[in-house]
């Protein structure tokens, strides 16, 4: 889901940088108010977890690959704003150091994976796990569903961003300038593979870690807010 350089035109790239700027600013403000110094290592672990879990490419044999993002888990444990910052750091390191995701697409990639994904996942988890005891299975299931839905919404957004490019930018003879696939191809491709395969990977990762933390560190599950 890391959109590379050259797939999105300047309008889309610029638009998402403009959208993300206030989000990053608000995230910093909120985290400044709510995060205490003791939680900083946890935030670093969250960013590192998101970074490394994205390296676990899962194959669809003979087809394509994808991976979990881990962002919903970070949002459940540290709140969506802190997660937003943590995932942004992971994505920027991936883009700058490893060319994974484009420089011009950092705004769009962060909007999908570092904003919409943690927020959607966080609120789905909150709703489903409402009033559930810390050690209840409902929390594990809520985490799984939140991971699944969160990554699928992000995938759908990436599909939309890819898919509108042929409409926005093409040569006089109809050749695309950037992503050549329209909405009719990009949206079902991105959404389909995540509904069928990669969404489950995010769901299982999120649910398993919550299950583990219920036993090992229940205080982390209580603290997840802001």
């Amino acid at each position: 889901m890391h959109i590379p350089d050259g797939y999105l035109g300047p309008t889309t790239c610029g638009f998402f940088y403009v959208v993300m700027t206030p989000i990053w600013a608000i995230a910093s403000k909120v985290v400044k108010k709510t995060l205490n110094a003791k939680q900083v290592p946890l935030l670093a672990i969250g960013a590192a977890f998101s970074f490394v879990i994205m390296m676990f490419n899962v194959p669809i044999p003979g087809g394509t690959t994808g991976h979990a993002i881990g962002g919903v888990l970070v949002a459940i444990l540290l709140g969506p704003w802190a997660a937003s910052i943590a995932i942004t750091v992971a994505l920027v390191v991936q883009a700058l150091l490893f060319g994974d995701g484009g420089i011009t697409a950092i705004g769009a990639n962060c909007f999908n994976m570092a904003f919409v994904l943690p927020f959607a996942g966080y609120y789905i988890y909150k709703i489903i796990s409402y009033n559930a005891p810390i050690d209840s299975n409902r929390r594990v299931i809520a985490a799984g569903i939140a991971g699944y839905v969160g990554i699928n919404i992000a995938a759908a957004l990436a599909g939309l961003e890819f898919g509108i490019q042929p409409l926005l930018h093409h040569t006089a003879n109809g050749q695309a300038l950037y992503c050549p696939y329209g909405l009719n191809v990009a949206l079902p491709a991105m959404l389909g593979e995540h509904i069928l395969v990669f969404g489950w990977v995010e769901a299982i990762v999120t649910a398993l870690v919550i299950k583990y933390l219920q036993k090992q560190a229940p205080e982390l599950i209580e603290e997840g807010r802001a």
Binding site: A44, G66, H169
Partner: protein
């Protein structure tokens, strides 16, 4: 053991296991992620390389492109796995340092 210590150990295990994310897709001939094709693949897929894509694709030259060292592309899976693991260590190292610096800057006033 402190929880954070356990989580750091968990991260170390993920680093060691990271080449799985390289080897499995290779084994199942899974190809590139959707929408992350190089210019050559794009030529094969749609019959041309979109002009804008060609211009922008090489905009940034990353120091460790695709988690592999430059010149190691043809060296085979064992070498690539080592590069992948080192990439995970370097990437996590930098991510952690940056996140701690940001975290410290943001929590300064609270204490």
């Amino acid at each position: 053991m402190k929880v954070t210590t356990k989580l750091w150990i968990g991260l170390a295990i993920l680093i060691i296991l990271s080449p799985v994310g390289l080897i499995l897709p290779e084994h199942f001939k899974a190809g590139s992620a959707w929408g992350e094709w190089g210019a050559d693949e794009m030529q094969k897929l749609v019959g041309y390389i979109p002009q804008g894509l060609q211009k922008l694709a090489s905009l940034w030259s990353a120091p460790i492109p695709d988690y592999a060292f430059k010149g190691w592309e043809e060296k085979g899976l064992p070498h690539l796995s080592i590069a992948y693991t080192i990439s995970a260590i370097v990437g996590i190292g930098i991510t952690v340092v940056v996140m701690i610096l940001i975290g410290k800057a943001l929590t300064k006033k609270n204490n």
